[in-house]
């Protein structure tokens, strides 16, 4: 055990030189210490926290009910960026419009789940754990992906959240992803040498004790931080990113993708989309940030010929009610749209019909596609994982990838 840990502590520096290592040896290294399935597909998840208003994102510009329900907030057709005769994008999403025109954007409408919950944290829990709304699961869908994929991984960098704390989505029963905002932060930690020394001196006991779990987490974190730091420097992107938090996060992600990091899943959030009051300005501001950051990221991937390997998807814990409220905002709703961006989409544009505003349930959209079907599709067809096992059920898969 001890030797193994020492070997993999060295892996950090070894892995940076992986470009120079012959293919066969690389495979051995991967099988030995960083078990990752073949292929270099990458999933980037952009979480829109707070419940983004989907109806003002993809606007049903021919729908009278929409305009009647939203006398102030309704976006006039000529203001939106036309996708089809019936649908227009929010004016701040100009880059998404160009992706749409190039066939690199897929929009899935009316995504949700049965018996929707209107509490932010509960609905987010449901999306992140992929449980039914009547059940509570303490692990996340990507965490369980790690559990499946990464049984012997010593270097837990297969999934990475760009934040200071780790989301439920990335916590498995056995494996957990790493959360960090800035790769330098951990690397420059003044205690790093002390912690490394402690960790190297620790001898795992015959029967694993809680203290061994702590040491494993510590060693894994330290070596991951080194690995990620080295990788992020190795091919630091030269593309210009906006100086927003999301811009910085996507820049970090881009650098790691370009340096062929072992990371398969990146997770990043932006918010708050909880627009009860004065929605217009707040949503526009957040969309502007997303538009700029995703634009830089996509350009970066394209310039470096990696766009085919990247799938970026967006989701939010719920959409908002069809009718606006008395404060020029909207309240918590149900079904919502999801965006898919990438060079490898098999279907593009509007993947299904716009929500039916005549067929509402208590003033809310009905869901047409279960979000777990999206997960099944991504897990199986993009990450090559056993979706049934990870989701604990068989979901019908979609065909956009």
């Amino acid at each position: 055990m001890l030797i193994q840990r020492r070997t993999f502590l060295k892996m950090g520096s070894l892995a940076t030189a992986s470009m120079l290592v012959p293919k066969m040896l690389q495979a051995i290294i991967r099988n030995g210490a960083e078990t990752v399935p073949a292929g270099n597909k990458v999933l980037v998840i952009l979480q829109l926290s707070g419940g983004n208003d989907g109806l003002n994102t993809v606007v049903p510009v021919r729908n009278d009910i929409y305009y009647r329900s939203r006398p102030v907030l309704g976006l006039q057709r000529e203001k939106t960026l036309a996708l089809t005769d019936e649908a227009g994008l929010h004016p701040e999403l100009s880059f998404f419009k160009s992706l749409y025109d190039e066939g690199q954007l897929g929009i899935l409408n009316s995504v949700g789940y049965p018996a929707p919950d209107r509490s932010h944290f509960r609905s987010m829990d449901i999306w992140q754990s992929a449980s039914d709304s009547s059940e509570v699961w303490q692990t996340g869908w990507l965490g369980r992906y790690l559990d499946e994929q990464c049984k012997a991984c010593n270097l837990p960098v297969q999934a990475l959240e760009i934040d200071d704390t780790l989301s439920l989505a990335l916590k498995g029963g056995l494996q957990k992803a790493i959360a960090l905002k800035d790769p330098r932060q951990l690397y420059n930690n003044s205690h790093r040498d002390y912690l490394k020394r402690l960790s190297q001196a620790h001898h795992q006991q015959e029967h694993e004790q809680p203290v061994d779990y702590l040491y494993q987490t510590m060693a894994g974190t330290l070596s991951s931080a080194d690995y990620i730091f080295e990788k992020s420097k190795a091919k630091a992107t030269t593309t210009l990113y906006p100086k927003t938090e999301l811009g910085k996060s996507l820049k970090t992600i881009a650098s790691l993708i370009l340096a062929d990091s072992n990371t398969r899943v990146y997770y990043v959030s932006i918010g708050s989309f909880d627009t009860h009051v004065g929605q217009e300005g707040q949503q526009a501001r957040l969309f502007r940030q997303i538009n700029e950051a995703v634009s830089a990221f996509t350009q970066d991937m394209k310039d470096n010929h990696r766009f085919e390997d990247v799938l970026l998807l967006t989701f939010s814990e719920f959409g908002r009610r069809v009718a606006q409220n008395a404060s020029n905002g909207t309240d918590h709703g149900t079904a919502n749209n999801m965006f898919f961006i990438g060079g490898g989409l098999k279907q593009q544009g509007l993947l299904n019909a716009l929500p039916d505003l005549q067929l509402l349930q208590d003033g809310d959209l009905r869901y047409e596609v279960d979000f777990k079907s999206v997960y099944a599709t991504v897990l199986n067809q993009w990450l090559g994982a056993d979706d049934e096992k990870i989701l604990g059920r068989k979901m019908s898969r979609l065909s956009f990838i």
Binding site: S119, H120, V136, D164, H191, Y194, Y213, G220, G271, S272
Partner: protein
Amino acid sequence: MATSNQTRNQHLLGRAGFGIDYHMLHRLDDIAPHKLYKKLEKASAATPQVLDTVSPFVRQALNSEEEDGETPTMDADARKAYRAEQRRQINKQSNTDIRQLSLAWMKEMAESEAQLREKMALFWHGHFASRVNNSLYQQQLLQVIRENALGRFGDLLRGVSKSASMLSFLNNQQNRKKKPNENFAREVMELFTMGRGHYSEHDIKEAARAFTGWGFERNGAFVFREKVHDDGVKTILGQRGNFDGDAVLDIILQQKQTAQFLCTKLYRYFVNEKADEQQVAWLADRFYKSDYHIGELLHDIFTSEWFYEERHIGARIKSPVEYLAGIRRVLPMTLHNEEVMVLLQRLLGQWLFNPPNVAGWPGGTAWIDSSSLMLRLRIPGLIRSDEPIKLKPKGNDDVQMGQKELLPAGKGKARKPGSSYQIVAQIDWPALEKELNKSGQEALYDKLEAFLLQTPAGSADKEAVMKLVDISSEERYLQTLVITFMSTPEYQLC
């Protein structure tokens, strides 16, 4: 090697409370664990004082009739807007009140003599998880829990089930004869009492009917609304009758499975994640026969021989709140910005009054991930220095309602989380030194290791520890050694 009294006592204090108090350092080897436990029981016997942080605004708004402030001339829209605005104000103020409640309670955990009660209350706080952004209801529920923490489980269960906080969180106000809502009945059986697999879906449907009409007034008082109660015949867990909610709770308490479920959970909380079937069965039997007397059950656990077995010692990962309260007990320190505790709770993953879901915090290894562990290893150093924390917790949209979040940073200042937020504290090192008596460097090392770490001596590598220790003076040696021991993986255990 026989386990020393000191280790046993530390084991007891870590589990039945929030760890050793620095005042006790020199006495820990003299007293027998069962005597120490008696002291703990005695210190927790009195009824706790209410921790009152509800602001006058919230109290007044909730104690007045719903129409208060509305005028008869208001039309329907104006009334609706007025009520929405009032709800928003209550929500906003409650957020502040609940933070104060959390701080007041943490202070109790850190400073009160009633360690056993507060520790047990923390368990129940997770067991009866409720996340309602209403400071009056949360404060009422906490008081029910603290008052009954060591009493009879039946009283506790009834009190919690009739609290506005729980009835609201589990939607029982919407549970009506014509349109039953099963949420409340389901969680009472699944999470509070029997656990999955010991009742049928039919039992839940029928129990939900019995709970129809259970609701609460604006001021949080329990109310039984006969008009929406279904008084028909129900069959629940094999019994037939015109049951109401109280009768359902009685039937549930008659099930031995309830004692079994609770004892398993308590064993895993207090003794070991891996429950020993025989010991749990023994506890459950006695718990059931005692009519669910929690205090007696704890007595059974903490005075048993097996509780002190070596395999249980230092084998439990402290929860974030236990960890934080424990630091405040073992170090003689003055915390100048208590507000920072809430930020740390959030960053470490145990935000009081905001459990992740109805099932509470999962505990055990779930506390530990890369970020939470790295922060834990930094915190003792942050207490000693002025270094900023520079970490930002995830937002809470249920509370923020789309607004930017600012956290109070002490002395009337508010800061964005993630900025130069510090732990502003003073450690009274001479006070600690006094408790430790004079001893040489080597002896002090062994002494402090034994006090601070519950793992076998030498678990934390001495060479590595010494790399961080400053030996330039006696004072610096003591200070840096204490902080370094507390910055080890071993310190996360009790």
